[in-house]
């Protein structure tokens, strides 16, 4: 079972690194949104630093969403999904491996790039640290929730928009607690730990529901 997991994880990481892979796309999209917003808002540093965490979080959410439609669709189109069904490992392991690979190439780079983009929205050092922590903990939840939608829309020709409509409402709690944890680190009445622990809980919850849900959707597919 672990062999199958590793084999699939390594294959997906290789694919992301090769031509046409989704590796850099999310990061560039993230960068685009975060750079555009200061231009739109004007050079008001106070305003920017107040809404900075929210900008970064919304950008991260959209960047996660952008490549999600290909998560299972690519395998569906070339027949690889049929191959994945023949494993000794249950479908849940297949989903876990694919989600892990996807997060490693989109979610993790976003979290690591957050401090640099924090400069653009005039974040303080504590704010940058909080952004990295909340994104590290929160983006897996986005990927797991998105995986359910990706599995449901795997066989649809242009499922990207439907996927977004399906999963965005379920991503809102993660967004709320991610932003409030980052804001709490910048000062305020609530301690950082309170929303942060809820964010951790949301991720754990999404990991279970997302894995089981996506596997069920893939099994009943076709």
């Amino acid at each position: 079972m672990l062999r199958s997991f590793n084999a699939l994880l390594i294959r997906d990481l290789k694919l992301a690194a090769r031509v046409g892979g989704s590796g850099v796309m999310g990061l560039i999209f993230f960068l685009m949104i975060v750079t555009l917003i200061p231009f739109g808002l004007g050079p008001d540093l106070n305003l920017l630093s107040r809404i900075g965490p929210a900008i970064l979080w919304i950008a991260a959410l959209l960047a996660t969403l952008i490549g999600l439609d290909r998560l299972f669709q690519a395998d569906q189109e070339d027949g690889s999904l049929d191959l994945l069904r023949l494993s000794h490992a249950p479908m849940e392991v297949v989903v876990l491996a694919k989600v892990a690979a996807y997060w490693l190439v989109t979610g993790l780079p976003l979290a690591l790039a957050a401090p640099f983009l924090g400069f653009l929205v005039a974040l303080s050092p504590e704010g940058m640290l909080a952004m990295v922590a909340t994104l590290l903990v929160g983006t897996p939840a986005l990927t797991f929730i998105g995986a359910v939608g990706a599995a449901l829309t795997a066989s649809l020709r242009r499922g990207g928009l439907i996927l977004a409509i399906l999963v965005l409402p379920f991503m809102i709690p993660t967004l709320i607690f991610g932003v409030s944890a980052a804001n709490a680190a910048l000062g305020g009445t609530i301690p950082f730990a309170t929303p942060f622990i809820v964010l951790v809980a949301l991720t754990l919850f999404a990991a279970v529901v997302g894995t089981v849900g996506a596997a069920a959707a893939l099994r009943s597919g076709e």
């Binding site: 199958s4 390594i10 694919l15 892979g21 027949g79 049929d82 191959l83 994945l84 023949l86």
Partner: protein, 231 residues
């Protein structure tokens, strides 16, 4: 090769299988048995449901009626006992032939031949390091067929395995299939052109005739109803 793979004593029996797609009955009354060393050739017109039959066996589609039993497989389920090579190659164009095969080898478990040896067996050793996207249709098909050799699976489901293959490759494929049968493997293949397999069973699938609107709704016993003949 190892004989301890549990190939012996395996028996696949399919009973009165029917298939529906989108509310329409494609075929019904398909029955056959397949035991170690046997091959089954499935023929029929385009759209008769040959690929759907393989899809049902592979667990991709649910049968509308009937039952599939696999005896002697122990704890393994049917999908864990089979290889499926369909119309779509299940190959990643960005990865090399070797990477595609080594992924299948470790993902499917029960590894058999090394990826290099499998590629040599289908005559593609020189293309091992080329991305699959650069290969021709026939070469891609051969890489997909090499997947049969990198993991031990007793039952091979092949959907028109000879399509896009040249004459020499078709002969190579035939030898590979016969070797698999000698080791006690089972093969179910759909085809339009003869595969030249030694005393293979053959069933012909015919599309269920839709009953005439004025009729009673029961198809006459020898006219429609997925006629199946074993030979």
């Amino acid at each position: 090769m190892q004989s301890g793979q549990g190939f012996e004593g395996l028996r696949l029996s399919v009973n009165n299988l029917a298939c529906e797609r989108g509310e329409r009955r494609i075929f019904e009354g398909v029955s056959f048995t397949l035991s170690a060393g046997e091959a089954l050739v499935i023929t029929g017109r385009n759209g008769a449901g040959k690929s759907s039959l393989l899809d049902i066996l592979a667990g991709r589609l649910r049968p509308a009626a009937g039952a599939i039993h696999l005896d002697g497989a122990g704890e393994r389920t049917l999908p864990e006992c089979l290889h499926y090579v369909g119309h779509r190659d299940a190959l990643k164009g960005a990865l090399t032939a070797e990477e595609n095969l080594s992924f299948a080898r470790s993902f499917l478990g029960t590894p058999a031949l090394k990826t290099r040896e499998a590629l040599e067996a289908v005559g593609l050793a020189h293309a091992a390091r080329l991305p699959v996207a650069y290969l021709s249709a026939g070469q891609r098909r051969r890489v997909a067929l090499a997947r049969l050799l990198v993991a031990h699976r007793p039952l091979w489901l092949l959907d028109e395995p000879t399509s896009a293959l040249d004459t020499a490759s078709q002969e190579t494929l035939r030898l590979i299939l016969e070797e698999h049968r000698e080791k006690g493997g089972m093969i179910a293949a759909t085809t339009h052109s003869p595969l030249f397999l030694r005393d293979a069973k053959e069933i012909r699938i015919e599309r269920t005739r839709t009953p005439p609107p004025s009729g009673s709704g029961t198809p006459d016993p020898d006219g429609g109803g997925g006629k199946v003949g074993e030979g």
